[in-house]
């Protein structure tokens, strides 16, 4: 055990490797909560990665994790959250990158491609849905989703968000929600804010020129802060932050993502009940 742990470099090592594989091990744990078998597997992977740099930079280990997790995902496909699916892709991408001649460059490229595609698909799906484009989706969400309760009452002016959540429980009988005059402007701001930020992330990550890298980091950071400050979905946020760290071009940039990772975990814990 001593020699195993001796293989480990400093926890304040901000180089892409071992930082990104280590952060990825946290994502493995954050997406482990579906079954006890899955939890045990994820804890073993995390222990191995934290215990040994050699294991953390082993591409076959990550490909194995990706194959096992994606196979699990396949069996449970229709009910699985998107961030768990995305994590499976990332393990495979990380593994392939670590097997390449230039792992750091390949890792950054894989992260940028996955991020760009995820956000491009998200923007296209939003643009294709009229109830999102006209703001109705966010009117509904602000009124019934408990995660938006604070925004709905303090900014939107809704007096009784709990009544709306109770009303949803009366479905399939038709129900009428309690609204407020501030909800529609807030919903439109969220709608167009989402379009602006998400399309910025997509474009800056999919454009091949290096000059867009910094803008990409800023756009992703803006998305992470704006989204997870309101709704701290730790599993999704952690995955995005790890890929942000993988595509960062400096140690300082990766350190910022690592701090963001920690802040998200604490914020999610404080929210309790909406984490993971």
């Amino acid at each position: 055990m001593t020699s195993f742990m001796a293989n480990r470099s400093s926890l304040r090592d901000w180089r892409p490797i071992p930082l990104v594989p280590r952060l990825t091990a946290f994502v493995v744990i954050a997406t482990a909560s579906r079954s006890s078998g899955r939890l045990i597997f994820c804890l073993v992977v995390a222990l191995i990665v934290f215990g040994s740099d050699r294991a953390a930079r082993n591409g076959w280990l990550w490909i194995g994790v990706g194959v096992v997790m994606s196979t699990w995902n396949l069996a449970d496909w229709v009910t699985i959250d998107n961030h768990i699916v995305l994590a499976g892709y990332w393990y495979l991408g990380l593994g392939a990158a670590l097997l390449s001649e230039n792992p750091e460059k390949a890792m950054a490229g894989s992260a940028r491609l996955l991020l760009g595609l995820v956000f491009a698909i998200a923007v296209l799906r939003k643009a294709a849905n009229p109830e999102f484009v006209n703001g109705d989706f966010f009117v509904f969400t602000l009124l019934v989703d408990p995660r938006f309760e604070g925004a709905a009452s303090t900014i939107g002016g809704v007096s009784d968000t709990v009544a709306n959540q109770v009303a949803v429980g009366q479905l399939p009988n038709a129900v009428v929600l309690v609204g407020a005059s501030g909800i529609r402007p807030l919903a439109l701001a969220l709608t167009w804010g989402a379009f602006l930020v998400e399309s910025s992330v997509a474009v800056t990550h999919l454009l091949p020129a290096r000059k867009w890298r910094r803008a990409g980091q800023v756009a992703l950071l803006a998305f992470v802060v704006a989204t997870y400050l309101v709704v701290p979905v730790v599993g999704f946020g952690a995955g995005l932050i790890v890929m942000g760290a993988a595509s960062a071009t400096t140690d300082a940039g990766r350190r910022r993502w690592a701090i963001g990772f920690l802040a998200l975990a604490v914020w999610g814990y404080l929210w309790e009940g909406y984490s993971l």
Binding site: I63, T79, Y89, S110, L114, V118, I121, N173
Partner: protein, 131 residues
């Protein structure tokens, strides 16, 4: 490792991402699959999330009584709401009937929202009964 194999491995995650997201779009149109789940990255886009789809179970005998979903069937209930079919609803009804000791009918509904009147209505999308 062969460069060709490495290149294929590097492209595989992105290819899977696009393929699964595309397949999910097809499933939403053809099988009423919930847009929020399953790798299509459409969460926070549609009112029709599985979490808002009511699943109602009630006895078929008169007077009809609501049957609560036992905790050991919650996983199956989530699956039924996320990808409802009449066959799956009938199987779920049969599972419920075993515990309830009487014939059960199960219905899955999809919410629709009118933002002008702030009214949520529901449309029946799958149903099934135990034998």
């Amino acid at each position: 490792m062969q460069p060709k194999v490495l290149r294929a491995l590097a492209i595989l995650p992105a290819a899977l991402l696009v393929a699964v997201a595309g397949w999910q779009v097809v499933r939403i149109q053809t099988h009423d699959q919930s847009p929020w789940l399953g790798g299509g990255f459409s969460m926070f886009v549609y009112v029709d999330g599985a979490q808002y789809r009511p699943l109602v179970a009630f006895s078929q005998e008169e007077p009809a009584v609501r049957i609560p979903i036992p905790s050991d069937l919650l996983g199956k209930a989530e699956r039924l709401k996320a990808a409802p079919t009449h066959q799956r609803a009938a199987r779920f009804a049969a599972s419920l009937a075993e515990g309830a000791g009487r014939p059960v009918r199960v219905e899955v509904w999809r919410p629709a929202f009118d933002a002008e009147t702030l009214t949520i209505t529901a449309e029946l999308i799958a149903f099934g009964s135990s034998p």
